[in-house]
Subunit: 461 residues, 2 copies
């Protein structure tokens, strides 16, 4: 039974999206509609997650502005936010989304190395290919590249980044004042990458960071996405609605990891869960119903239309989804989200209005409304029955929903040994139980002996 | 007499390059060779500059690694460093170099908006076109674009960035929970830019920041660079060796600004000065001589050869520069640095070895070794005689040289009214006496009334 009960606690990530993961959370009295733009808010929420020993906090990203009329939509660049958060915390991991379609490998590898350096080894990168034409149009294109093409680029992008992160051996810096030798240049390597998408000579201009490189995270569950995860990911965020779906995904991905020649335990699978917590089940269900009522159907339909490759006019609110939808193969945006939505609507025979309400609640992730005990039961069951190594916690409302989680759910998790009671390590790799990768350019013996960090920038220790 | 004595103090920027601006500073006993990689060092140095009311701190950048064998060469991405520094300070301005040749306007405009938001309006951008083939090879090119071409791209890049920063009017965010309206989309504008280098639809995904946009800084003094500065810059860093050169540059640039239809007082000119401070003049000269002795001639020659477009073998150490140098027109790297170096060598009839020693000291900026009183005399003279609105302070050794400046030079500057004794404003624009630009998309009346910031992210206030 993977991940449990081997005496290891589960992994917990807080997905901080500002005002909460329910589409309508910002409309509740007492909400904070500007949360995502407030750096102190991000710092405080990470400190709260750190106080209960979460492995990590995570910030998503999108490089276009869409739907700002109806919901909080502006955001601060996630790596910038997490730099501030790094300085306001000491242990918790810091995971940021960044796009392989709309960045250069040199600049992005360098930014993650910087975050890893100044956080003392707590950086993680959620690798996305960024669906949608709106993003493409901010970067010189008229429309997005195909799904397949974006993943081809992502594959090469990550390879280049990994080479750059390896380009300084751990002990390259000498700093010998007497001899006037700052670095041993035989331990700093050009990478001389020439590929289909990128030509990058290297080396990186930043020394090797405490973790060697950031923890690589992936969240797409399409065929391309799963194969990509099997090759590169060290942690996977995924949206799974039923235990059976979760088990199937878990088994399939671990199988693919093994086929790719990697250790299945070296890839942690964290399904998203959207807890809606009440002191009684009735109270939780009432809060959930109130949130669903606050969803603006027209706004949700606009988003749904984008996700399904349709126009809003093709989706009358009080009818089921049309029969003649495109197939997943024809979708060039987020394929796995498309399939999840269509299957949910068909399985539960939902009208568009009902579907929009359901999707407002966590945007396709598993919502669970109940008492703290009931939330823990779900967590324990999914872990025990082979669907999860941990969870991506996505509170329907923020900060209130996470405050309730910390106050009422965490103590029960702790009693049952499902969450750590103190940090054992200082890096995100150590929290997730992942090895530190050696530099591919280091002699084998040297890399085994290498100190975990060759430089002094571990400011937050 | 510009900038003085109009009752306004001069502007002071600390250029923090890690271990000090003298090439050999890191070789002195007690130096800190890893300074540039230590985030707490950057925070402390900025706090020290803030304690004496400097306008700003500045971090340079280079997107390739060169010369790591002989001097500190690795660096953390400057915008990342300044994000941490922003959270450790409350008033001082934060200026980062970033390249227009090796970034996308959308990503970079967004990163500066982020820094401006989370610092409460303290961001500045030193716009560089990044000379050198080594950088080009990290971004898919075999060699750099021509000097002219790089400036053409820079021109369009800055225009796109300015449009993106304007794309949200100041009062676009409504956050009306009851009505379910988060933003007034009539106040958020696509920019629909289609130019020679970039196509960017917009809007930015980050709201308008406290300063409207970061203070735009420029540091190239070639013809292309001066014209670019005249069109875009709000502050100019410049290397000038003699008072006469400084006066000529100052007059020429202010004239070009006026010709470009802008207010000459809206562009602050800050020559670099490399103070080497001793309690007696003899002590200062001895420290300076010790630093020059510690320069490794071969290392300096390697750098000189790159700057002159030659090979090291063409530069015998004990001979003068060869007669058949290329002309400034033929140089595609840093044209103004090339000319400054050649003129210095010819004027003072220096051998390559002597030239390397002189350039080690501040890399072409004006070095001044003397007592605190003598340093103040130079500062006062340059300001009084029309060569400066302020100074870019580049201590030969760091942190020691800046600690001496703070302890011994600043009190004299204060007595003479040459440096402010407290901050009057909270933003970098206010420190430099620069207006806040209105959004080009806002109705004229509305922009005049707009609050200085429409969002709540001013965490450090």
């Amino acid at each position: 039974m993977p991940g449990f009960p081997h005496g290891r606690p589960l992994h917990f990530n807080l997905f901080n999206n500002g005002s909460g993961h329910h589409e309508a959370s910002w409309r509740l009295p007492g909400s904070y509609p500007l949360a995502n733009l407030d750096i102190e808010y991000h710092e405080r929420l990470a400190q709260l997650a750190e106080s209960v020993m979460f492995d990590s906090v995570f910030l998503a990203d999108h490089v276009a502005l869409e739907g700002a009329a109806r919901r909080p939509a502006g955001r601060i660049d996630p790596l910038t936010v997490l730099t501030a958060v790094a300085r306001a915390t000491t242990r918790i991991g810091l995971i940021a989304t960044a796009s392989t379609s709309y960045n250069d490998p040199f600049n992005l590898a360098r930014r993650f190395a910087a975050l890893d350096l100044l956080s003392g080894g707590r950086a993680g990168w959620n690798i996305v290919t960024t669906p949608g034409d709106a993003s493409a149009r901010n970067f010189g294109l008229d429309s997005q590249a195909s799904h397949f093409e974006r993943y081809q680029r992502a594959d090469e992008f990550v390879s280049v980044a990994e080479k750059l992160w390896d380009s300084w051996e751990d002990d390259a810096i000498v700093a010998d004042r007497e001899a006037g030798v700052w670095a041993d240049e035989s331990k700093i390597h050009t990478i001389d990458h020439r590929g289909r998408f990128f030509s990058v000579r290297g080396p990186l201009n930043t020394p090797r960071s405490p973790q060697g490189h950031p923890v690589l995270v992936q969240a797409g569950s399409s065929e391309d996405g799963r194969d990509f995860a099997a090759r590169h990911a060290e942690a996977v965020f995924t949206a799974q609605h039923t235990l059976a779906d979760g088990q199937a995904f878990y088994a399939d991905l671990k199988r693919r990891v093994k086929l790719a020649g990697r250790d299945p335990d070296g890839v942690k699978i964290l399904p998203g869960i959207v807890p809606v917590i009440g002191s009684t089940e009735a109270e939780a269900l009432e809060l959930n119903a109130e949130l669903d009522r606050l969803v603006l159907a027209e706004s949700g339909r606009d988003r749904l239309a984008r996700q399904l490759g349709l126009t809003p006019a093709q989706l009358p609110l009080d009818k089921p989804l049309p029969d003649d939808l495109p197939s997943e193969e024809e979708i060039e945006g987020d394929k796995s989200r498309f399939t999840l939505i269509v299957e949910l609507a068909r399985r539960e025979k939902l009208t568009v209005r009902e579907l929009v309400g359901r999707l407002g609640s966590g945007r396709g992730h598993r919502t669970f409304a109940g008492t703290p005990e009931q939330v823990v039961e779900v967590i324990e069951q999914w872990a025990r029955e082979g669907a999860a190594d941990g969870f991506n916690i996505m509170p329907a409302t923020l900060p209130s929903g996470f405050e309730l989680f910390v106050e009422h759910v965490v103590p029960i998790l702790r009693t049952r040994g499902l969450i750590r009671s103190e940090y054992q390590g200082t890096t995100l790799r150590e929290h997730y139980g992942l090895p530190r990768p050696p530099s591919r350019y280091a002699p084998r013996a040297a890399s085994a002996d290498a100190a975990p960090a060759g430089v002094a920038a571990r400011g937050s220790e």
